[in-house]
Symmetry: C2
Subunit: 326 residues, 2 copies
Amino acid sequence: MMNYDTNLVPSYYDVTKEYFITKLHVKRQPAVLCGIDIGPCVEKWTSDYLIEKSGSTIVKVHVGSEANMNFLSKNFSYKTLTFEQLVKRSKKKIQDDNDYFFSPKEYYYLRSLSNERRGKQVANLKTDFPELADDVKLPCFFADEQFFSSILRLGSLGMQMWTHYDVMDNFLIQVQGEKRVTLFSPSDASFLYLDGDKSEIVDIDNPDLNKYPNFVKATRYDCLLRPGDVLFIPAFWFHTTQSLSFCINVNVFWKNLDAHFYEKNDYYGNKDLIPASKMLQAVSKAMNNLDSLPKDCKEFYAKRAIRLIEKTLEDNEKSADKSSSK
Amino acid sequence: MMNYDTNLVPSYYDVTKEYFITKLHVKRQPAVLCGIDIGPCVEKWTSDYLIEKSGSTIVKVHVGSEANMNFLSKNFSYKTLTFEQLVKRSKKKIQDDNDYFFSPKEYYYLRSLSNERRGKQVANLKTDFPELADDVKLPCFFADEQFFSSILRLGSLGMQMWTHYDVMDNFLIQVQGEKRVTLFSPSDASFLYLDGDKSEIVDIDNPDLNKYPNFVKATRYDCLLRPGDVLFIPAFWFHTTQSLSFCINVNVFWKNLDAHFYEKNDYYGNKDLIPASKMLQAVSKAMNNLDSLPKDCKEFYAKRAIRLIEKTLEDNEKSADKSSSK
């Protein structure tokens, strides 16, 4: 078994908007909010009800034969189904004869897209699943103009998402089933072997420590969501979810920073903030300068560049200490 | 006592030009060359002789009251002396009453500059100390057109140079006295807490490991130079020298890479290669993009940038493996 730090995400009961804004949101730490009124969906959204209401809706779904879906090696395909087919299949451990894509045992994951312009407009429960939307009361713990998207998510038993971050704060609302969510602080980014916004470590419970030795330095934050629970995931917190049963979630994103920081064409809430994206592009381009140099020089100067950035981090830290001690 | 890896720099006897070029230079590892004919300087350069020949030459010298000279905190001053005064003072443990700059116990270090245009032209023993130059036979282990500079160095007892790298290959010729040189591979750059081309760790024998924990991961290479020894210091190898007695050295630099890589106005042989310098400037500028972001975002994206560079390093490694296995 792994020997690394694990913490439980703290739970809070009957949190008010004011308490959330003044006490929880400012902490920039994940929190499970229990006992919030999220509407009748918790009671109403049985499989039969979902099928009755939205069964004929066409959805695009991630399907794979491995429980750990991995965006980097793309061990899944996108398939188009009716919502009825998806719900029925997602509840089965083994699919019916000849009624599967890859293998009798396969995993399904829906992340709803905008009905109007799929992938070119943000998802919104109200317009994408109007027949279900009224059953959900989104926690209004932010100003209306900060609202970004509301997404219906469905995961079949065992399905596990790759570890990644989003650039906006969000609430993950557990409507049906049980879900384990594991989070890592943005300050542990160095230990997660990132490729863009995703970790290369596919199975965080059994990581290859020869390949990813620094992963043991990362601190896990775990929680188990039950129907009615709302998980606050602050922007830039890495997270991976595992559906411990058939799961239905609603996920609400909002702009927690000034609107001008966000990319205009970010439909998923995961495009890097504009200044950061510029920086990353410039750094990537800067590295091309080394192409003409011998391999050992290239390596050496790449390390010099890393040190240069570490020093800007240290200076950032020092200037923050100074201004806080004023 | 420190518990880190130490290695001895290997010594080679009666090395020919061909052996150096085909066997040693290509290794990119430091080496002590013993028994090379470096001319009559080893016998001739007594203090009296040096004073007789060059005593009236005006030299600019680093003077400090701490043995460890530190370029980052500048614990020394530049003072102008005659070469006679410098030689006489450098041989004394305690200076005569009232004949010192800071304290009776002080340290002296000369790195000769061009006589013609000090600090605006490379040092050349032939023109800067013509009355001494004929006593030295520089090892001609590189082509004439690669020659860059020849520098006279003098260190008083105990004087220790800061750990730094140069961008050209060079021979450090020990003419008088004994000198300890400690080197670190360019691949250990990440463990040396660099500020530009210099390590922040002033006392490598008693480092502050709370401040510099990764220093234990660096591998030391030590050697002791005796009169007549020639140390090959490959470009980018970090090095620090300690004069175990009054020391006189001649140091020869040459361009080991294609001439177009070097800065035109590099008079000391330590300005970063042009493509690398461009890269470092671009990375530094790129980081300014983060200024408008909140502190935690800044930190997060700095780590993303570090990871991006690590990945270019990994890709570099992989493509090298591929081409070598062809």
